[in-house]
Structures are given as C-alpha cells and as structure tokens.
C-alpha cells in the first residue's frame, strides 16, 4: 500500500482539477459536476485517513458528505432546469440579474 502522502497528492490534484473546471467552464451543469469532483477528492482523502488511523469516523463522514452531495445535486439540478426553462440556456455568465 502506498503511504498516506500519496493519497494527499492525489486528492490535491483532483481537487485542483475540480477548481480549474469550475473556473474554465460556463455550463452550469458542468460546474456542478466539477463540484462533485472536488467533493470526491475530499471523500477519498477522508477514507485514506480513516484507513491510516484505523478509525471508521472518517468513513462515516464520507457517507454524510455523499448525503449532502446527493441533496445538493437534487436541488441544484432542479434550479438549473428552471433556469433553462426561463432563459433557454444553462450558461452561468448570463446569470447576472443580481447586478440590478
């Protein structure tokens, strides 16, 4: 088994990829997916630490993160579908109504 450091490397890289994705894409749905990727990177790290310390609390936490992620996706997608219904687009750069 590789040392914990390598898991941290992997998670950091995946997390950063998620961040880059959020920054370079304009499609709202893809943005949500990038957030999911970041969450998964964190999950992976939690699990790695849980294994490292042989403590199941970390894995339980991953379970809760999944719960939150699922709830977030349900609501997020519902909102995006509504946005699409109103603007015929999921382009987030069109969402600047807050400015007014």
């Amino acid at each position: 088994m590789p040392p914990i450091d390598h898991y941290i490397w992997l998670s950091s890289i995946l997390f950063s990829i998620g961040v880059i994705g959020v920054l370079i894409r304009r499609n709202g749905i893809v943005l949500l997916m990038c957030v999911e990727l970041m969450l998964n990177a964190v999950n992976l790290l939690f699990t790695a630490f849980a294994t490292n310390f042989q403590d199941s609390a970390g894995q339980v936490f991953v379970f809760f993160i999944m719960v939150v992620a699922a709830a977030e996706v349900a609501v997020g997608l519902a909102i995006l579908v509504m946005i699409y219904r109103n603007t015929k687009s999921v382009d987030i750069s069109l969402l600047d109504k807050l400015k007014q």
């Binding site: 961040v19 959020v22 920054l23 304009r26 987030i92 750069s93 969402l95 600047d96 109504k97 807050l98 400015k99 007014q100």
Partner: protein, 627 residues
C-alpha cells in the same frame, strides 16, 4: 400523613384539568359536582391533617424533588403542613367548598360555566400551594398563581371592557407588591442561603437586625399588594367586577388573607423588627379608617362590602403590627365566615334583582328573600361586632391587644372605625331589605328566593358566623383561647399584657350600647324617614370626598400615571424619534453611501465571483504558509 398533603393539593388540580379540558363536553351539573367534590376532598384532607396536629402530631413535611438546582441555589419542591398552614387550609377549603356549591346555583345560566369552575379549582390549588409551600419560593409560586386566577376571575366577563380594565388593574397592583415580595425573598436567600422556612426561622437570630428590618419591609410590601392596604388598595373595590362568588372567595375569604398569612408566617422576623412592625401597624390603621369612611358613602352593594373588607384587613394588620399574630389569624377566620356570608348574600340579592347592584334601587327585600335576609342580618350583626356573634370576639380581642400593646390613640381610632363599620353595614342592611321597593316593576315582579344550592351555603356560613367566635370564646374568662393555644407553637406572639376582666366587660357593655344606638339611628334614618342616598356627583362637602373615595384614583392618576405618560411621550418624541432614530438613520445613510461605491464590485457575474473566491483562498493559503 404526607399523602394527605399531596391529595389535598392535587385534587383541585385534577378538578381544574377535568373541567378545563373536558368541561365543554360535560353537562353543567357534572362539571360543578366534580369541581366541588375535588375541593371537598381537599377539605377532608385538611381535617385529617388538623386532627393529626391537634392531637399533638408533628408538622408534616412532603418532600418531592429538587426543583431548582443551579450553582449554590437549591430549592426543593416540598410542602409543609404545620399548624398555621393547616389553619389556613381549613378556611380555604371549607369556605371554598361552600362557595363552589353556591356557584353551581349562581352561575347556572352562564355560558362559561365550566371555565368558571376550572378557574375556581385552579385558584384553590394555587392558594393551597401558597399556604403549604415549605419555602418562600413555593409560596411565591402559589402567590403568583393566586394573582393569575384573580386576574382571570375578575375579568371573567371579559366582553365588558370595564371589567377587563378592573382585572388588569388588580394584576398590575398585585405585581407592584410582588416585586417587593420577590426582593424580600432574594434578600432572604442572600442572607440565609436558603428560603426553606424551618432553616430560615431557626437561624433568624444570626442575621443583622437592620437586614431583617429591610426584609420585613419588603415582605410587607408584597402583603400590602395582595391584601389591599394603602396605598395599593384601589384594585379590590374594582375587583367586584367578577362574579359574586369570586368576590366572596377571593376578595373576602381567602386571597386577600395571603398577606396576613405571609406576615404571620414571618412572625419570627417581624417580632424582632420594631420599625417594620410600626409600619405594619400604621398602614393597617390608616387603611382601616380610610376604607371604613369610604364605605359610608358607597351605593353599590358589593362596593360597600369591598371597602368593609379592606377596612377589616386593616384591622388584621393592626393586630399583626401590635404583634398579636394569633389574634390576626383569629380575625381572619371569623372574617372569612361572615364576609363570605355577606358577599354570598349580596350575590343572592343581585341574583334576585336580575343583576342590579345599586342599593338605591332596592329596599323591602326582606319579605321576598326570607333566608337571604335572615342570614344577611346575621352577617351584618357579626361584622358589626354584636356579642355573642363571631365578629365581636375577634374585633374585641384586637382592640384589647391594641390598647395594651400600643396605647390609647390606636385604640380610639380602631373603636371609631368599629362604630363606622356598624353604621355603614346597617345602612346597607336597611336600605336593601327594609322600606319600600325602589326598583322597576319588572324587577319587583321577578323577585324570588334563590335555589337551595345557594341558600344552603348561606345557612351554613350563617351558623359559622354565629358560633365561629367560639374559637376565641374563652378569652373572656381565661387568657388563652383555642386559636391562641393551637397556633402558639408556630407563631411568635409579642409579649402583650393580657387585658383585665374589667376592660373586657367595659368594652362589652359599651359596644352593646353603642350598637343598639347605631341600629336605631340607621333604622330611623333609612327605613322610617325613607332617606335614599344621592349619587356621588350630587354629594357636597366631606360626603363628596368620601363618595369619591378620597380621590385616590384621581391622585394616582395625577401623581403616577400623568408623569409616566409625560415621560413616555418625552421618550417617544425626543429620545426615540430624534436621538435613537437619528443614529439609526445616520448609520443607514452611511451604509447606503458606502454601498453606492462598493456595489461596483458586485458585477453580478458568477464566473467573476468564482474566480475571486479561488484567488482569495490562494491568497489566504499563501499568507498562512508565510506566517
């Protein structure tokens, strides 16, 4: 024996729950019977406890659980039935039971029947908590409960705005007194570290005497509020807005005696504090005189009785101030009997008169309301102090104690008050029951004796008013009577020389002669000559002042209400509007101005926000790693 306390307490509470929750679904009779029975159960328990104590048993203590435990505060939810508590319990449950029975007849046509009985039961429960609590906090719990029930019952016919205001007035006045009581309890706690009666009283001697004085004065402030003494007495006459059984139960027989109970309970403190006792004496005396004189000019049958109650309470406080605690309790007992009787009798009259309360429109009722008339007469004789009825013994004892304890001036003032009492009571009696009927034809046609549920309590109370003096009968012949002996172990009476037999006999003879004169005079003035009192506005001179109640309400209005209103207006117009609102407006305007510039940062573009967030995180991380 502890279970008797529990049953006595919970039986009315159960009654309250049943009639409160299910009353609207039950037939009226069932609700009434349940409510009355629950009080009767309490009464039986009281008798059991009384019997136990009378046979030399120890005070019964019921420990339930630790109620409040915070830091070094520890208050138990415990109850104590000693001789004083049981004495009060007997009065509360006994008179309370009779009034419950009476209410079944009196309130029979009322829509809120079940509500009324629920309140009455809650009241009995609160009052029992008050007298049974084993520490000042439990007592305060009951004290507040009593205040609440009083509020609910005075405002029972809340649809009438005036009655609502009367309820509010009672509540607020009581709150003023409660504040004093609460402060007193705090001080007690501060000094003794507990509020438990037994602990506090046993260590009373250890405390600083000035502190004790202060505690006594604060406790007395509470008593003034609850027992309607000057300056907090104006709520009691207004409290006559409630149904008449309420007036009888709360504002004559039990609730107002809570103040007496409080002072008597704290007799250990009061005996040792000169100043507080003097204050009690003076307040009681002034109240007795003032209320009695106001009573002379009242035209509302219940108001007359209300002022008489205030006056009699003043008597009791005089006794307390002198240091004759058991005498005060004795008078509480006899007063409970005859004042309940009088109120219930007046209720019966009002019932017969279809709600009319003004004695100017009554007269000649003795022919139609035979039982009511006779019992009312007995009550009047009792309160006036005609021997050998109950009132004579207790009043006479107070006079004697005052004479030997505080000298001639107090004695004279009390004696004059006694005379005035007799005058206004017989004025009331003759105007109501003798002479020509002055009401409308319809009322005359409608006159009827009340149902037996109402007359039976009247008869029982009349009997009690006659023989109630027996509790203190032996004072004429020996120096200790029953109430004195029974209560002596819990009350710390001041050392007052016993009146000589000569004094007793002189008082007896003088009072009989005086009373006879008064009866004849009032009879000739109101019955023979058919004089009818005028309304308050037509009075002149001192009579006008009296019928306007010494302008107490008006004085309060000018001295307290007006300045407070002015202050509130000032606070509203100047402090609130100009000053505080100004600050708020300035800050708001400042934020608006800043926001106008800062809002350019908010492009509304989600991408920009995201980028800014990431850059912020990076910056944070860099700073974190550099530091």
């Amino acid at each position: 024996m502890g279970s008797y306390i529990a049953i006595a307490l919970f039986s009315p509470l159960l009654g309250f729950t049943i009639s409160g929750l299910f009353g609207r679904f039950l037939p009226k009779n069932v609700t009434g019977i349940i409510a009355s029975l629950s009080v009767f159960v309490s009464f039986v328990c009281s008798i059991m406890l009384f019997n136990h104590l009378h046979n030399g048993g120890d005070a019964v203590k019921l420990e339930t659980f630790n109620w409040i435990a915070a830091g070094n505060i520890s208050i138990d939810f415990s109850f104590l039935a000693d001789k004083l508590s049981v004495w009060m319990m007997m009065i509360i449950t006994g008179v309370g039971f009779l009034i419950h029975i009476y209410s079944m007849g009196y309130m029979h046509h009322d829509e809120g029947f079940y509500k009324f009985f629920a309140y009455l039961n809650l009241f009995i429960f609160s009052m029992l908590t008050l007298v049974l609590g084993a520490n000042y906090v439990i007592m305060f719990f009951g004290w507040e409960g009593v205040g609440l029930c009083s509020y609910l019952l005075i405002g029972f016919w809340y649809a009438n705005k005036e009655y609502g205001y009367a309820a509010r007035k009672a509540f607020i006045m009581n709150r003023i007194g409660d504040l004093g009581l609460l402060l007193g309890i705090f001080m007690l706690f501060n000094v003794f570290g507990t509020t438990d009666y037994q602990t506090v009283f046993s260590s009373a001697g250890t405390a600083n005497s000035a502190t004790i004085e202060l505690i006594c004065i604060l406790l007395f402030v509470g008593a003034v509020g609850k027992s309607a003494q000057i300056p907090l007495f104006t709520w009691l006459p207004d409290a006559m807005a409630g149904p008449t059984p309420v007036s009888a139960l709360i504002h004559a027989a039990t609730m107002v005696t809570a103040g007496i109970y409080l002072v008597a309970r704290s007799s250990v403190f009061f005996v040792s504090s000169e100043l507080a006792s003097t204050i009690v004496l003076v307040v009681g005396l002034v109240t007795a005189v003032v209320a009695a004189t106001i009573g002379l000019k009242q035209n509302d049958i219940k108001k007359v009785l209300a002022y008489s109650t205030v006056s009699q309470l003043g008597y009791m406080f005089v006794a307390l101030g002198v240091g004759a605690y058991s005498t005060a309790l004795f008078h509480v007992t006899t007063h409970a009997f005859f004042k309940a009787l009088l109120f219930l009798g007046s209720g019966s009259v009002i019932h017969a008169m279809s709600g009319e309360q003004d004695i100017r429109f009554m007269g000649g009722l003795s022919k139609k309301l035979k039982i009511t008339h006779f019992t009312f007469l007995l009550g009047t004789l009792a309160i006036a102090g005609v021997p050998p009825l109950a009132g004579f013994f207790s009043k006479d004892e107070i006079l004697a104690k005052a004479f030997y304890g505080n000298g001639i001036l107090v004695f004279i003032l009390l004696a004059v008050t006694s005379v005035i009492t007799a005058v206004y009571m017989f004025r009331l009696y003759f105007l109501t029951f003798h002479g020509e009927f002055r009401g409308t034809e319809e009322q005359k046609h409608h006159l009827h004796e009340s149902p037996s549920t109402m007359t039976i309590p009247l008869i029982i109370l009349a009997i009690l008013s006659c023989v109630g003096g027996g509790l203190g009968l032996s004072s004429l012949f020996s120096h200790h009577h029953f109430a004195d002996t029974f209560l002596s172990s819990v009350l710390t009476n001041a050392n007052i020389p016993h009146p000589s037999h000569l004094f007793e006999i002189v008082v007896l003879v003088v009072s009989v002669v005086l009373l006879a004169i008064i009866i004849l005079m009032t009879r000739s003035y109101y019955t023979k000559k058919q004089n009818v009192p005028t309304s308050a506005d037509e009075e002149t001179g001192f009579g006008r002042i009296l019928s306007k109640k010494y302008y107490f309400d008006e004085i309060y209005k000018t001295l307290i209400q007006k300045p407070i209103e002015w202050l509130s207006n000032f606070a509203h117009d100047f402090i609130d509007r100009k000053f505080i609102d100004g600050i708020v407006n300035i800050s708001g305007r400042g934020v608006t101005v800043c926001g106008n510039y800062l809002r350019r940062v908010q492009t509304g573009n989600v991408e920009f926000y995201l980028l800014a967030m990431v850059v912020g995180v990076i910056a944070f991380l860099i700073i974190y790693q550099l530091v």
